[in-house]
């Protein structure tokens, strides 16, 4: 994902802003390849994997087999 997405991306639960942590960038320095999006309000954490942020509410995300 591009960092510009952060301008409009929000926590799916409480719609507060997200902060990007532990970001790793692609070679072009533009694309965030991995990292975590953390809700500035509730602290919920959403992973970015292979450049795709997963904003499923935690109870739906946790269905994912380990």
């Amino acid at each position: 994902m591009k960092e510009s997405l952060l301008e409009i991306l929000r926590c799916p639960l409480d719609k507060h802003e997200l902060e990007l942590e532990d970001a790793e960038y692609a070679d072009d320095g533009e694309e965030v390849v991995s990292g975590v999006l953390v809700c500035s309000e509730c602290g919920e954490r959403y992973p970015i994997e292979d450049g795709i942020p997963n904003l499923l509410p935690p109870d739906m995300r946790e269905e994912t087999p380990a």
Binding site: E30, I52, L55
Partner: protein, 226 residues
């Protein structure tokens, strides 16, 4: 099964590309109607392979296009089909859209809306994220008047909402969206065999197949945020 499990499986077996091919027959006509201005931000709900958003980038100069899908494998496939820096994909659910209020110019959704666990709430979410005057183009092949679609529920574990035309309009109104248009977009491209080839595996009679595709086609309902 969850949306994720069901549709991850579809993605893995290549169904995303198969749907793209079939849905394109009617989707392209609805996409062409969208009042997208260069630079607009567009969201594709239940994007599957992501073809719709890519088409809006190419034909209308949409600024940024985001495809949201509940199935991580769908989003991953979609991302693999393009290198366009104006296109992005994310995993999320229709019921809790991860976007700021007034942040999206136009929302598109093809053959996906009726999988929402609470479609009324999804409409409220759409009304929330659209800027005033933004549109929601909602295209579905599964709806009450299309009797040929009714059996589809039997082959999928996700509960599907089967509204009729009126119910779509009412639900849009209830969620605070104006209704600007409702239309059946015919599929004029699917090949319909000659009468003597019926019954086929899927169709009892030619008349039924004609009605399904050429008449019912895709039901399009267009909402506008106040």
């Amino acid at each position: 099964m969850s949306v994720r499990e069901e549709f991850d499986e579809w993605a893995a077996s290549g169904k995303d590309r198969g749907m793209e091919e079939r849905h394109w027959h009617t989707a392209k006509h609805a996409l062409a109607r969208m009042p997208i201005e260069p630079g607009d931000v567009v969201l594709d709900l239940g994007c599957g392979s992501g073809y719709a958003g890519r088409a809006l980038r190419e034909t209308k100069g949409a600024g940024r296009v985001y495809g949201l899908d509940g199935a991580p494998e769908m989003a991953r496939n979609a991302a693999g089909y393009t290198a366009d820096p104006g296109v992005g994909y994310l995993v999320g659910d229709f019921d809790s859209l991860p976007f700021a209020a007034d942040s999206i110019d136009h929302v598109w959704s093809m053959e996906a809306f009726y999988y929402a666990a609470d479609p009324h709430h999804t409409l409220e979410e759409i009304a929330r994220i659209l800027r005033p005057g933004g549109t929601f183009y909602c295209a579905v092949n599964y709806y009450e008047e299309n009797v040929y679609s009714h059996a589809w529920q039997e082959s999928i574990s996700i509960p599907m909402t089967r509204w009729d035309r009126d119910q779509y309009r009412s639900a849009f109104h209830d969620a605070g969206l104006y209704v600007a248009e409702q239309d059946n977009v015919p599929d004029r491209e699917i090949t319909i065999p000659d009468a003597d080839e019926f019954p086929t595996d899927d169709w009892d009679s030619r008349e039924e197949m004609v009605e399904r595709y050429r008449e019912y086609g895709t039901l399009l309902t267009v909402g506008v945020a106040p």
